[in-house]
Symmetry: D2
Subunit: 269 residues, 4 copies
């Protein structure tokens, strides 16, 4: 009945475990770093050496950004459920949603829709970039991956990612297109519009062959490492209870205007 | 008021991001693999080279084990919310709870309570192991980290982890104690009691200096990578809907015995 | 500093707890049913009697629909983490995402954008409905809230919801518009297009004054009740392990075509 | 193969949906409030009228308690993922774990282990209570369900729950035992030990026949309603970003003592 159903991820027999066709214990453990095995799971093949270096650099770049809403949600959840650490990590990942990680997918969709290839010339990439920027200006929508609330002068992670990609010969058509999009958008903007780490990572992951639903997934695994760091720190130097007290003491309780059933004013969003 | 509150995880200024005191862009990205940066976040310091190899091997060992309940939960969640991949990964991690990942913490607590040190002699470790096994037999409780439903003759991941730890001079007091616990428990058992990958990893992570609340966390990051693989496969070769149909067609609906309010039989657990 | 921050949800002093301006212990407990207190939390006021009946009927309608992907995810999560029931319920809710619950918000946005009011005449509503259907046909997009995989001849919950709304004088402009949209869409369709329970509920909740971000929230609370039922049944009559075995036995492991790093074929989505 | 697998929760055919053996559209919707249908799902039968009042009062009592860690986690998650409201509600529930909701199960286990029955005399209940209190004093462990950080003089929700249970003739053996446990524990204590709302609810739910794994589940459904209220308020009067800024500005970044790989000091927990 289910003969057509298949998986290529993993399989085990009493004395062998296989992941994507490779012997886990003998071909992967001790031989290949975790970032590369994650690449294997996400791209379906082991990375070449330069690809492994770039993919690991992306994972490292996104692992932590301090006391983000996501880190705070994980810490508050740990306060409520210290016996179920998986809940704290899950809560932190749920807060790493569209506002923060949406950029990966949005950049991926934008670039892939333009279908740049290794054979696309620089002049063609430039023409595509001009069209993309013009189209967003016309529609009044924001281009994903540009701008940063803190790193106005350039996101230090982006600069380093580009450098590594260049060293490894991995400045593929997606990142080259994205850099041109950034240049044209910034030229016409009144505020600084650096390519942020999310935008650069999304483009580079497209070049590395990660499928679109996996772009956000890469960021989630990376961020999970940072969240484990936050949960461990919360266990020894907690801020959760202080956060709770601060909210209770700083936010004024205002009796609602009306709790009268006759008041049928319809809230809108 | 909050002058005593501190974090040592990360910090950023307009042109620099620091993680655990190190310059993210220049000292970590492109220089250190992701597994080692996760070690930095979890243990508070960068690993030595052999430690990095062992820690990565543990992460690789636990990344995937096929169509587990956790992988199925992630795939079913993706079916319901394909636009929020973080929900699918979070759901998968929530299924990686006490039944499967509890072993890390339980092994950690068992071993740390016995306080083996690098100065503890083999004879002393053996005496501790005998006492631990005897105590569990007396109480009729199961020792954590032993036995496997599939790998009866020995978990291939465990054998490889021990081998790597030995090569790197990292067979510390916790794993040496655990191996002796396994030997004594297996000697008195009527069924095979190999040291499983969770048990070996828990002990080795204790030797590597990961604090107890972080033990399960290490497994969660590792498993997240496998879950991204499952979500990507679900996006292109889905099994979620088949699983749903199978459940609906195979599970018989039985009208409850009574829906009468007068029936006050109390269910117990 | 935070003087402008306020909450109107709840507040407690040593001898009094207030919810939305009302005394929890004396004005709500024992006096008002839970559905009505949920309405108070979501709409900011207590419902009139007919509103309470309709709102409760919506909650009842959506509480369960058998062995859905969401219920299966909750059961599989309970199998992995029986000590953290909150994780099982959370996993189930995460599976109740855009595919299934998106309809509430989509119907809400569609109808609210058309701004029907109690003063809008039937002829005007009909004209709006004709325009909405024509626009979707032109764009080739599906109208939300229409069609059902099982209930082709009409969703029994929808029929009952309309009946109750009529009895209580609560057939407001949003549901009347939605019924006209359904009529015009069904007239031009080649397959049955009944108004489903999600579509009817979304429209009725708009008429009841629930703000758009709360529409999916109403369904989530309702569905949580069904998930508790599934977790309780899983605890006494489990299907999780059978589901796991079935997946492992029915899904064929296919060695991936290539794990060669030289193979750089780029998966697309 | 799966002939022995069964479910009694729900079932649907093209023109009928059944929940626990009852016709959803005609016997439940518009006839029975949501709290009672939740009781049907959790206890397997519809409640008698007094039971419905008490069960609804418990749900109402626990729905909200202001800006709790759980509410803050939901709001921070909404800030990061406003398009996936299910993630915000799930994150909030994950924070409603053992620290806060564990009391339900712990009270349930404590009382059920003592097996009080409707035939147990008051003198016998008193003797059991004395033994339970003595045993906990001997072991130095805390009895669950007693004490409250704010409501020292008595939790207003508890007083009301007892009152309602009394009015409805539902002061069963579990709550009567719990009240005696509280009396004996408070008599020997140096600080106020009122029976808190969680403790009272846990005992009353045992008397109502909710199985132990469902006790926490009842609180989760109730709390989900409060979380929807918080998410709605966050959408119109946000505090999430202020909370984030406050954490970043109040928590000092302290460079870790050492990130030297040679420093192998082992953190313990």
């Amino acid at each position: 009945m289910a003969a057509h159903l298949s998986t290529s991820i993993g399989h085990s027999t009493p004395d062998r475990i296989e992941v994507k066709g490779l012997d886990l214990a003998n071909a992967l453990m001790g031989e290949v770093d975790f970032g590369s095995v994650f690449f294997l799971l996400a791209a379906g093949r082991l990375p070449a050496m330069g690809e492994a270096r770039l993919f690991n650099a992306i994972l490292v770049a996104l692992a932590d950004h301090g006391l983000t809403p996501s880190a705070l949600a994980a810490r508050l959840t740990y306060l409520g459920a210290p016996d179920a650490v998986q809940g704290a990590i899950a809560a932190g990942l749920l807060g790493a949603g569209s506002t923060f990680l949406g950029v990966f997918e949005n950049v991926g969709r934008l670039l892939r829709a333009a279908m740049p290839a290794s054979t696309t010339s620089e002049a063609e990439l430039d023409a595509i970039a001009v069209r993309l920027v013009a189209k967003h200006e016309e529609l009044g929508t924001r281009l994903p991956g540009l701008g940063h609330p803190v790193h106005h002068g350039g996101d230090p992670r982006t600069l380093r990612l580009i450098e590594i990609a260049e060293e490894e010969g991995l400045l593929g058509p997606h990142i080259r297109l994205m850099l041109r999009v950034q240049a044209h958008a910034a030229a016409g903007a009144t505020r600084p519009l650096p390519l942020n780490a999310g935008g650069a990572s999304g483009a580079l992951l497209c070049d590395l062959g990660i499928a679109t639903p996996g772009l956000r997934g890469v960021a989630l695994v990376s961020r999970a490492a940072g969240l484990v760091g936050h949960v461990l720190e919360e266990a020894s130097a907690p801020i959760g209870r202080w956060l709770w007290d601060t909210a209770e003491n700083s936010v004024t309780y205002v009796t609602p205007r009306s709790s009268d059933p006759a008041d049928k004013s319809v809230p809108e969003n």
